[in-house]
């Protein structure tokens, strides 16, 4: 009966109930769209960071991160071939890529600049698809002395594809080395600070310059990001003398973005929540005042205070359920519409290219939106319900 009363009372003042529902729906839709946008952003950033740059797992020689290397690649991987064979047997693994990072000076004969190089396996790097080639070509498959320059560095060296430059660094034993290289192409990843120093070179070339057969690390790419932990343990079970880092430890920027967005949306969420709570509470309070005489009557004929409170809270619950369902439906619909459309967003911090607005609809977000509507409406009704139950019968009955 309480529900019957509650629903009928909700329908009693159609317009006011409609406005209250609108506020709740607004809140629910906001949660769904913002939450979905945030989820999509995190997903996209995570996958592009992993598949374009750091891989799901990075395998190092044991001691790499804890011990202080006095010389380059002191803790480098010796026998990459058998290591990767062992790892690639796992069906979850999509591919492995060996890398070395090194620094040195690059000179065009007139001036030198410091460079930071990533030495890669050209075919694997190509599969990672993480750069935009602005001149020339990608790293050729079997030229150990061809390099790619970051756009800023190329400009500073006045270099174009086909030019020759000299790389200088120290070998793994500490003596100096220099190597002439041919500029195969110029690239950009969209981050200026990186493009000003970056060199991409084949691993064979780096090994020549460093005078070594070692590599610094082996990147492991999986088909599904969810397999990361399992694959991590599996590899440690099969191979010894190595240490592994998971992508999460290697993606501070990703975590910063997550924290930033969560902070912003969390704050927004609180503001929206407060607005909804106050609006709904206000509406129910108005309804309470309008029904003062009715409340007095109910108490006179034997309705207990708690019963009365329950009555109003149930009204809040009823509005919450209706609002939640409406909000859910509308939110899902809007999300689908947006996804089909072509709204372009400006580039996120650190990037130079914008992207298409997409909302990720996850069951978790939808359920949360419904629950929040429901809970908010219920909470909003508590104060009005308390006020109603505390009324003095005689005064209430005498109310117009």
């Amino acid at each position: 009966m309480t529900f019957k009363l509650a629903f009928r009372n909700v329908l009693r003042n159609r317009r006011r109930s409609a406005i209250t529902l609108l506020v709740i729906v607004f809140g629910a839709v906001g949660l769904i769209l913002f939450g979905g946008y945030k989820a999509r952003t995190f997903y996209a950033l995570r996958e592009s960071t992993i598949r374009g740059r750091i891989g799901h797992l990075q395998v190092f020689e044991s001691g790499y991160s804890k011990k202080e290397a006095q010389k380059p690649l002191e803790y480098g991987l010796d026998d990459v071939t058998s290591l990767r064979k062992s790892i690639e047997r796992d069906p979850r693994v999509k591919m492995t890529a060996a890398q070395i990072t090194l620094m040195g000076l690059i000179s065009n004969g007139e001036k030198s600049e410091t460079f930071i190089a990533t030495a890669v396996e050209p075919a694997k790097d190509h599969a990672m698809n993480n750069q935009r080639v602005t001149a020339g070509t990608d790293l050729p498959a079997n030229e150990s002395d061809a390099v790619m320059l970051g756009a800023g560095l190329a400009k500073s060296m006045h270099a174009k594809p086909g030019d020759y430059l000299t790389l200088m660094s120290t070998t793994t034993s500490g003596s100096l080395n220099a190597m002439d290289v041919r500029v195969a192409g110029i690239f950009t990843i969209g981050v200026k600070e990186f493009d000003d120093r970056a060199v991409k070179m084949p691993i064979a070339g780096a090994q020549q310059l460093l005078n070594t057969t070692k590599v610094e690390k082996l990147l492991v790419f999986l088909d599904k990001t969810e397999d990361t932990s399992a694959a991590h343990s599996a590899i440690l079970g099969k191979v010894s003398g190595i240490e592994i880092k998971e992508w999460s430890e290697l993606a501070p920027f990703y975590h910063q973005v997550v924290a930033l967005y969560n902070g912003i949306f969390g704050f927004l969420g609180i503001v929206v929540f407060a607005i909804v709570v106050f609006s709904v509470a206000n509406t129910i309070l108005m309804s309470v005042f309008e029904r003062t005489r009715e409340i007095g009557t109910l108490m006179a004929i034997g309705t207990s205070r708690s019963r009365l409170r329950a009555m109003f809270v149930t009204e809040g619950v009823a509005i919450g359920i209706i609002g939640g369902i409406l909000g859910l439906t509308l939110g899902a619909l809007l999300a689908a519409l947006i996804n089909r459309g072509n709204v372009m967003l400006p580039p996120p911090p650190g990037y130079t290219v914008g992207y298409r607005l997409q909302i990720m609809l996850q069951p978790a977000v939808l359920v949360t939106a419904f629950l929040v509507s429901f809970v908010t409406a219920t909470i909003s009704s508590i104060v009005p319900a308390l006020k109603a139950s505390r009324m003095k019968i005689v005064d209430a009955l005498g109310h117009i």
């Binding site: 000076l105 007139e110 000299t166 034993s173 500490g174 003596s175 100096l176 080395n177 220099a178 005078n211």
Partner: protein, 222 residues
Amino acid sequence: MKRLLFALFIATPLFAQDAASILTRVDAARNPLTSFSVEVQLTTNAGESSKFRVYGKGSDRSVVEFLAPASEKGKFLLMLRDAMWIYLPSASRPIRISPLQRLMGQASNGDVARTNFMTDYNATSVATDNGEWLLDLAAKDPSIAYARVKLWVDKTANEPVRADFYVVSGKLIKRAHYHDHGRRVEIEDLLRTGNTTVMQYSSLAARENPDKMFTKDALGKW
């Protein structure tokens, strides 16, 4: 034929002896004193000029005190066999310079100037070139900065005239010309054509440099 064979026979051990003794005499000429101080005036072709005092002990320890220009005054450099440290008056403790950082700036010339041929290199051949000995030197240890050096030596004075410095890949990156009995050294940077540095040595004197002076903790404190 027999004469040739005989010549070859005695030439080989002679060559080894000769190379080593040449090197010894070269190093002796370049570093006559075991414990010393010397002033160095350094000028680049760009017109920049700086002045140092170098305190040395043995062949592999030296401390460089920056005297001029005013912006550099008060800095110290400690050069040991495997490591280099810099002390800046604005920092509380000396900073280690990695081999990579030694590529840059004048530290690389410092490496060239103090190359110890005797201790660090083996002569793989001796020849005569234009009236001078030409020694082909290979680094004894893979950690030595320049993997190979070609050294021209004046036969009479046993002084170095010119040295070409090669890296592991075989690329020639520096050339030193020695003048005035080693009191003036010109170093050419062959990767940046036109860049030369001239180091002028003066006031070479014997000095009792205590061992503890060549530790990083002592740097800047005296």
